[in-house]
Every structure is written in structure tokens, then in C-alpha cells.
């Protein structure tokens, strides 16, 4: 049997030569349930932290789905959900302009100051 051998990893089967159906129906993404970002507080006293995202028809369902998807092992005691389209993010290409100015200001860190050992509790 003549087979075309290509690198194929678990979870990475090439489309060519693997018997894939050539074309599929195009789906209209606007008919999808909206995407929500999920934030979870793991315990009282800690911040909510981004856990991932999921699809849901509304906020109530997003919270219920987040409970099932992200807290099956008591990972959370409080959930926030925000529709992804309402998140605004800084641009990676602007990161130099935004964050470089802090680079040379090491005097903002306590370790910058050299004090004698005799000084306690500081």
C-alpha cells in the first residue's frame, strides 16, 4: 500500500492524505451564542482571576456554565462573567511606549536603598 507519510503528532493530523472531507458548510458566526470571559475568586480575600472563556446565551447561563466548566473541584467561591466584546486591551505593539518608562526607575523598589543592618523594622 502506498501511503503518504507526514509528520503527524497526537492532536495534529494533517488534513492532506488523511481522508478528510474536502469542504464543509460555512457557519455564520453571528448566530453563535456570545463569548464570555470568566473570572474566579478562589477564596475569600483574594482577587478574581481570569480563568478562561465560554459561550452562553446570557449572563445567568454564563455563570452556570462557568460553575460547571471551571469549578468542578471547588476552585471558586465567586464568579464574574463579562461579555468578551466589552473587554478593551492595550496593544502589544504599544508595549514599549507603555511599559518601558518604568524600566530605569529602580529607585521605586525598596531594595534600591542600602541601609546599615542596625536599622530594624524597615
Amino acid at each position: 500500500m502506498q501511503i503518504q507519510v507526514k509528520k503527524f503528532y497526537y492532536g495534529d493530523i494533517p488534513d492532506s492524505g488523511s481522508g478528510s472531507a474536502p469542504s464543509a458548510k460555512q457557519v455564520n458566526p453571528s448566530e453563535e451564542w456570545p463569548l464570555w470571559e470568566v473570572f474566579i475568586r478562589s477564596k475569600q480575600g483574594l482577587d478574581h482571576k481570569h480563568a478562561g472563556s465560554l459561550h452562553a446565551a446570557d449572563a445567568e447561563m454564563a455563570i452556570e456554565n462557568a460553575r460547571d466548566v471551571y469549578t468542578r473541584r471547588q476552585e471558586g467561591i465567586s464568579i464574574w462573567v463579562v461579555e468578551s466584546k466589552y473587554i478593551h486591551a492595550s496593544k502589544p505593539e504599544e508595549s514599549g511606549m507603555l511599559y518601558d518608562p518604568a524600566e530605569d526607575k529602580i529607585y521605586r523598589h525598596p531594595t534600591f536603598y542600602d541601609l546599615p543592618d542596625a536599622v530594624k523594622h524597615m
Binding site: 509528520k7 503527524f8 503528532y9 497526537y10 495534529d12 493530523i13 478528510s20 464543509a24 473541584r73 502589544p92
Partner: protein, 315 residues
């Protein structure tokens, strides 16, 4: 900046072990490779629910039923983490599902084998999840941030899967003669397909390996497979069972187990859709999706009604 310069900056980041995030510039081929790999991985989790779902109703005790139910629910969760990661590359969830159901997208061939006895639940947990874990532990350090984060979460949950599988077999291996025979039979049937999960031999690849250079993958198929064989060849002794490979023998000079040749014709046949359950798996997926359509529509309609009502109250 020219594409060439961007590509150099990109590779520099990879070489320095800086993760790539969704909004960062990336070569188109990197995006495509990740998208294909992550979505196939997600599909594997979802289709992987079927061979085990088959046994939930027939698990031998309430305890085993609860465990199996939790495990299958985990697989569903893992599929969702991965779909989310794939979506960050700019591809819609519904399209991914559509591509799975139309047969365009692939999933791991291992799930095209049938689960015939209760012992298969043990063998799947021990061997199939065991093989998947080796791959997934490596992927925790993959270069694409969302994929790596999903993997960390998955690995945390996955080790229970493997342990419960081994425990099922352990109980059977200490049982009656019939239970012992069932245990050995399941190992015999799942061993070779599990080895195939790691993909073709490294020597059969003529392409220079871009996935390694981009640190999507960090270990070769053969490396992972050898790691798996070495691990399982020892663990099987605890069960007092054997692996169905007459060539399996410890090689003192290599400090590894030697093992027999995999049936690659079978491997490619199953990949191409001619495995024992390919048709059945896709049909089950499509049926579940189609039968759930009215629920999805109802939820959308309900959400729209609630939103409209809120608007009226506000006005």
C-alpha cells in the same frame, strides 16, 4: 517592519521562552498549525467522551458510576478549555464543531476503537489517558500561551483519570479467573492502539520539524512513545498481567525497553476513517448536536426576550 524582521523577532521570543499571546504578531503557519492542533485536541476530548459514556449506565457499582460520570464530565470540560484556546486564534466555535461533524476536522484515532467490556474502562484510563498525559505534560510548556494554560489545567485533572483506570484493572486482576481474563483481554486490545497515539516514527518524516523549532512540540513521537513503553512495562507487573508484544524486552545497553513493530497499515486505515467505530462516533456526535438544536434556540430566544424586557423597563 518587514515580514522577515517580524519573523526574526518572533523566533527570538520563542528561543527566549517568551510565550506567544493571541494579539501578538505570529507567522500565518504558526497560527494555522496551532489552530489545527488545538482544535483536533478539543475534538479528541469531546469524541473521547463516547467510548466511556457507553459504560456509565452499566458501571458495576454506584461508586464506579459516580467516578466515570465525573471523568466523562472532565473530558467535556477539557474540550471546552481547548475550544476556547483555539478561538483565540480567530476561528469560530460553531465552525469547529461543523468541521468535526462534516468529517473535515480530525480527532485522535484511539477513540475509533470500541469499548467492549468493563475492563476497557480501566485500560482506557491507564493506557489511553496515560499516553495522552505524556503528551499533555509536554504541552504545558508549549509556546502558545492559551494552549499552555489550558494544558496546565487539564493535567491537574487528568492524573485522577489514569489512577482510577489503573485501580479498576487492579481490582479485576485480584478477582476471579473470569475477571482476570477480562483484564488481560482489555490490555491486549488497547495496547497497540495506545502506542499508535504517539504518531508515526520520527524516521518517516522528511520535513524539517517546524513544530519543534516553534516549540509547539518539545519532544519527538518516538521519544514520547519510548517513555510510555518504559513506564507501562513496569506498571503492568504490578497487575500481574502481560503486554501483548513478544518482542518487548529490557535493553540493558540502551537502558530502555525494546518493543515490536506497530501495524502502520492499521494506523493509517483508522486515520482515514476506516476504523471499527469512525462512522458510529461521528453519527453519535451529530445526533447529539442536532437533538440539542432546539435547546440552543430556546436559550437564545429566552435571552433575547429578557433583554427586550429590560429595555422596556429602562425606557
Amino acid at each position: 517592519m518587514s515580514v522577515h524582521e517580524l519573523e526574526k523577532l518572533f523566533q527570538d521570543k520563542i528561543d527566549q521562552e517568551i510565550k506567544i499571546e493571541p494579539r501578538d504578531w505570529m507567522p500565518e503557519a504558526y497560527r494555522k498549525t496551532n489552530l489545527r492542533q488545538i482544535s483536533q485536541h478539543a475534538h479528541s476530548e469531546i469524541v473521547g467522551m463516547l467510548p466511556e459514556g457507553n459504560w456509565i449506565g452499566r458501571a458495576p457499582s454506584l461508586k464506579r458510576k459516580a467516578i466515570l460520570l465525573a471523568k466523562v464530565q472532565d473530558e467535556g470540560g477539557h474540550g471546552l478549555y481547548l475550544y476556547s484556546a483555539a478561538e483565540t486564534l480567530g476561528f469560530s466555535r460553531d465552525q469547529m464543531i461543523e468541521d468535526l461533524h462534516s468529517g473535515k476536522a480530525k480527532y485522535s484515532s484511539i477513540f475509533n476503537y470500541p469499548s467492549l467490556t468493563w475492563a476497557d474502562m480501566g485500560a482506557i484510563g491507564w493506557l489511553v489517558d496515560g499516553a495522552a498525559i505524556l503528551n499533555q505534560v509536554m504541552l504545558c510548556r508549549t509556546s502558545y500561551g492559551p494552549y499552555a494554560r489550558a494544558m496546565v489545567r487539564i493535567c491537574k485533572e487528568e492524573s485522577f483519570h489514569q489512577r482510577q483506570g489503573f485501580e479498576i484493572l487492579l481490582v479485576l486482576s485480584r478477582g476471579t479467573e473470569a475477571q482476570k481474563a477480562m483484564c488481560q483481554d482489555a490490555i491486549n486490545r488497547w495496547w497497540w492502539p495506545s502506542l499508535m497515539m504517539f504518531g508515526p516514527k520520527d524516521s518517516e518524516s522528511t520535513n524539517s520539524d517546524q513544530s519543534m523549532k516553534w516549540k509547539i512540540k518539545r519532544k519527538s513521537n518516538d521519544e514520547l512513545r519510548q517513555q510510555f513503553v518504559d513506564m507501562i512495562a513496569e506498571q503492568v507487573k504490578v497487575l500481574g498481567m502481560t503486554l501483548p508484544d513478544p518482542d518487548l524486552v529490557w535493553n540493558e545497553s540502551r537502558k530502555h525497553y525494546d518493543f515490536g513493530e506497530i501495524n502502520w497499515e492499521e494506523f493509517w486505515n483508522v486515520v482515514k476513517g476506516n476504523g471499527p467505530c469512525n462512522k458510529q462516533r461521528l453519527e453519535a456526535r451529530r445526533k447529539a448536536h442536532d437533538n440539542g438544536a432546539w435547546v440552543r434556540e430556546a436559550a437564545s430566544a429566552y435571552a433575547a426576550k429578557k433583554a427586550a424586557r429590560r429595555k422596556t423597563v429602562a425606557a
